[in-house]
Subunit: 125 residues, 2 copies
Amino acid sequence: MEEQVELVGKAFVDHYYHLFDNNRLSLASLYQPTSMLTFEGQQIQGGDGIARKLSELPFDHCQHLITTIDSQPSSSPGGVLVFVSGNLQLAGEEHELKFSQMFHLIPTLLGSFFVQNDIFRLNYG
Amino acid sequence: MEEQVELVGKAFVDHYYHLFDNNRLSLASLYQPTSMLTFEGQQIQGGDGIARKLSELPFDHCQHLITTIDSQPSSSPGGVLVFVSGNLQLAGEEHELKFSQMFHLIPTLLGSFFVQNDIFRLNYG
């Protein structure tokens, strides 16, 4: 069970940041109308609003470099909590930014997962 | 509702780190047998084991200085997800350590909350 939860967390993180770094608008597919994002303290609800927010961030291209992934089963049936830390490299910027992010993944009827909760913070040096 | 969730998050964070910085063993009261902690990648289950782990950390005294608190309702009835960033000052150490931590709080029958999920990471500069 714990191993399964770790596999889900790692697979999700790979998929999420690959989409983020290559096609941000497609992240909408990972959220649902009930989903919540808190991005640097700003709260947004619903997949469309979340994908719009992420696509309007003021940089064209970025790359996430993941440092740690910690996953736990949540008390929602089949749910998984994923906690990520890493570096964010923005195109044209010399220095990387450190970030932390957490996701609450909930199983879909199709055997996949969607993001119910998403909280993102830059860790200012 | 959202305001209530933020109040719960802030009150919990105040309480948790006050206990941590003043009487680490008493943190056991905030966990239950189902609770999970992942501390710098190490997984521990159950309030007794978690409190023992926290009380055995290799420093006598510390102070948490909180930078950000982000809270969202979870999909567990009455549950709250809390995401914290801040600095950890260890007694006798010159430099503060940056940390991020997330909690999944679940209501108790007595109208309080316990910590079901707890993930802690230092953010190495």
